[in-house]
């Protein structure tokens, strides 16, 4: 059944709530965001898009790394790494950055946006200077991950409800606090990823220290960094002859 639209409906000038029947909730995600460049959206013309030369080279170098560089049509394998470049450069996947990347890759901006919105780490809205991802999955939850997220929210003023559902910015907009699924460091539970480095096991009081250190530009909790940890079983030399008399690596 095709939806019935009033004959005087003017999509160009309609307000978001006019797109849905009265009384139904409006999902903002469907009614806000970047306005497409055209319909159907076109691949940006290099003549129209200003791209810093170093960025163009960086993107091209990534495209060239993948075997689909030789394929017909637009090679797309570089999409995720290129979006990472855009995010690193502009702080998040900005609409302008996406258009620049799309122009070099010769795909539509909508294509890159569809990729960016699929992945949790690629952000299509501002995410602040620093990112704190607090794991609230099974092992961390058992060891106090929820309370740790509470502590980060309390310290930064980030909204706790939103932090638990995709992330929230601190009151000053500088720190993104986000509850996260298992980060692959359950041995550190409860743990957090701070600017892409892992720390744990953390006490609630560490949240305050970490945020203060981030703001002061200091090294974050060096004694709780994953990099500094040894193996859980410690230094153990095997006496098993199958191991000691074997060949190959690790001898």
């Amino acid at each position: 059944m095709t939806p019935v639209m009033p004959s005087d409906f003017d999509p160009e000038n309609a307000a978001p709530e006019d797109f849905v029947s009265p009384g139904l909730p409006v999902d903002e995600a469907n009614t806000t965001g970047r306005v497409p460049l055209g319909d159907p959206e076109k691949i940006p013309d290099p003549a129209d898009v200003e791209i810093p030369e170093d960025l163009r080279e960086q993107i091209q170098a990534i495209v060239d790394k993948y075997p689909d560089r030789d394929h017909k049509g637009s090679p797309k394998s570089a999409a995720i790494p290129v979006l990472w470049i855009i995010q690193r450069r502009y702080g998040w996947c900005t609409p302008e950055g996406i258009v620049q990347a799309a122009c070099v890759m010769q795909v539509t901006p909508a294509y890159l946006e569809s990729v960016a919105t699929f992945y949790d780490l690629l952000r299509t809205s501002p995410q602040g200077e620093h990112q704190v991802l607090v794991c609230t999955n099974l092992a961390c939850w058992m060891r106090g991950g929820d309370e740790l997220l509470d502590a980060f929210c309390e310290k930064t003023g980030a909204d706790r409800e939103a932090a638990g559902h995709g992330g929230a910015l601190s009151a000053d907009g500088q720190v993104l606090v986000s509850g996260f699924e298992c980060l692959g460091a359950c041995d550190l539970a409860p743990m957090a990823s701070v600017d892409e480095r892992y720390f744990g096991p953390l006490e609630n009081a560490d949240a305050e220290t970490i945020v203060d250190q981030l703001e002061a530009g200091e090294e974050v909790l060096p004694e709780k960094a994953l990099e500094k940890r040894g193996l859980a079983g410690g230094v153990a030399e095997s006496s098993d002859p199958r191991v000691t008399e074997g060949k190959g690596p690790n001898r």
Binding site: P25, D68, A79, F118, Y119, L138, S193, E227, L231, P249
Partner: protein, 473 residues
């Protein structure tokens, strides 16, 4: 007292191991040199098959068999190392890549040589930025030493290796979703068959293996299949890096022979439960595996014993819950994860994970009725085996095991005071005579309403929380 059997993690605590010179000082890349010079690729494939090495990423399929499925044609073939490691409870690949990246790279070069592969990738989850940096450096060193690139060590064999960072999506660990993500798309699984060995990356034959599986390869090629079979059990040969976490004293990665008991792993190596606590349940193979109870602690940790116990070894990740953990809440955490990570392509998985999560929320909030437990169980049955990939099953299996094995705890949550008042009012308005669930066929209500009608009446009588109104995620 049990000891670790460190083959893959041997000398791993030496920071030198992460560099090419350190790795070579411990005998690294010797096997590659020998293989390229004097070993027949066919022999390598045969040895891998003979060794019985089973995939360490979850499914436990024979690695050698998978290699032998690749067609012997001149088509461009691909190797993808699965380093997505996003299953809750798993963190072994992180340790292997961080401490000994060259062991993985050497294994990948030898596997590619054996299968005639010219392009290899390591698909690493985006969160592992530190480990991806380690790999980037190691790959650069390997190119510098002539172990990667054109005409490797003068053998005429070419191999390109790219480290590809993901960007945060559990589903990309599923092998066909991984291929889509590598091709620069949203990570949605593909319909199988065709299997990746026939038609994978860019439509070419593709071998996909886990980090730990590939890390074993140079050891097997150096020592032979019989040496490898000397470790572990008949059906689960070799050693396994096991991630133990949750409510234990010494969480971490421990490398043991397959077939040691769960008790040795959880008590002997990981130190057992925290002081004054007792173990209540544990996932033996990551959050996707049906939970086991302390009665099963003396089982050997092997693919076959875990399957026989109705669970699975999966990625080899044990998450321990002690008596302070509420099982209904643990089930809710589990469903929340899968609900968030479902790619949304299949209805049973997308709706099933979402509704299971909502129903479990009602259970833990004391807003459920006893009939909800049966509905939860039936939803799980309708997910299993009905989807493109097994993400849906990965929630259905642990959740149904919890409802089955700890039903009294779920009933207790439901029978709490708030909950009892709630269900009494519901049943009254639905026309039932008592607070207990009466099967549909015996519903005494006017017109014998179905559970669905009852549910709707229930929803009509209360405000719908915003989380149910548009996803909430």
């Amino acid at each position: 007292m049990i000891e670790e059997t460190r083959v893959l993690l041997r000398h791993a605590e030496d920071p030198k191991m992460a560099t090419i010179s350190g790795y070579e000082s411990y005998g690294g890349y010797e096997t590659l040199k020998k293989a390229l010079k004097e070993i027949d690729p066919e022999w390598i494939v045969g040895e891998l098959e003979e060794s019985g090495l089973r995939g360490r990423g979850g499914a436990g399929f024979s690695m050698g068999k998978k290699v032998s499925f690749l067609p012997h044609t001149d088509d461009a073939k691909y190797l993808c190392c699965n380093a997505d490691e996003s299953e809750p409870g798993a963190f072994k690949d992180r340790e292997l890549m961080q401490r000994n990246p060259h062991q993985l790279i050497e294994g990948m070069i030898i596997s590619s040589f054996a299968a005639g592969i010219g392009h290899a990738f390591i698909f690493i989850r985006g969160e592992y930025d530190d480990q991806a940096d380690v790999l980037d450096r190691a790959v650069e060193e390997a190119y510098g030493a002539g172990y990667l690139g054109k005409n490797i060590l003068g053998s005429g064999f070419d191999l390109e290796l790219v480290v590809h960072r993901g960007a945060g999506a559990y589903i990309c660990g599923e092998e066909t979703a991984l291929l889509d993500a590598l091709e620069g798309k949203r990570g949605n699984p593909r319909l199988k068959p065709p299997f990746p060995a026939v038609q994978g990356l860019y439509g070419g034959p593709t071998l996909i293996n886990n980090v730990e599986t590939l890390s074993n390869v140079s050891h097997i090629v150096a020592n032979g299949a019989d040496w490898f079979k000397g470790f572990g059990t008949e059906q689960s040969p070799g050693t396994k890096v096991v991630s133990v976490s949750g409510c234990v004293k010494r969480p971490g990665n421990y490398e043991v022979e397959l077939g040691v008991t769960l008790r040795d792993l959880i008590f002997g190596l990981a130190g057992g439960p925290l002081d004054g606590r007792e173990i209540k349940a544990f996932y033996p193979g990551g959050s996707s595996s049906p939970v086991l109870t302390p009665a099963e602690l003396d089982l050997p940790y092997s693919f076959e014993a875990m399957a026989e116990a109705g669970s699975m070894l999966g990625s080899g990740s044990i998450i321990v819950a002690d008596d302070s953990v509420s099982i209904p809440r643990m089930a809710k955490r589990t469903s929340k994860f899968y609900r968030h990570e479902s790619c949304g392509k299949c209805t049973p998985c997308r709706e099933g994970t979402s509704w299971t999560d909502k129903m479990l929320e009602r259970v833990v909030n004391g807003e459920a009725t006893p009939m909800d437990l049966d509905i939860i169980a039936s939803v799980q049955n309708n997910i299993m085996g009905n989807c493109l990939c097994v993400l849906g099953d990965a929630m259905a299996m642990p959740v149904s095991s919890m409802v089955k094995k700890f039903r009294d705890e779920f009933e207790e949550a439901i029978a709490s005071e708030a909950s009892a008042a709630w269900s009494a009012s519901v049943m009254e308005s639905a026309g039932a005579q008592s607070g207990r669930y009466v099967p549909d066929s015996q519903q005494p209500g006017p017109g014998g309403e179905s559970p669905e009608v009852i549910r709707r009446k229930r929803l009509a009588g209360r405000e719908i929380p915003s989380a149910m109104n548009g996803g909430g995620y």
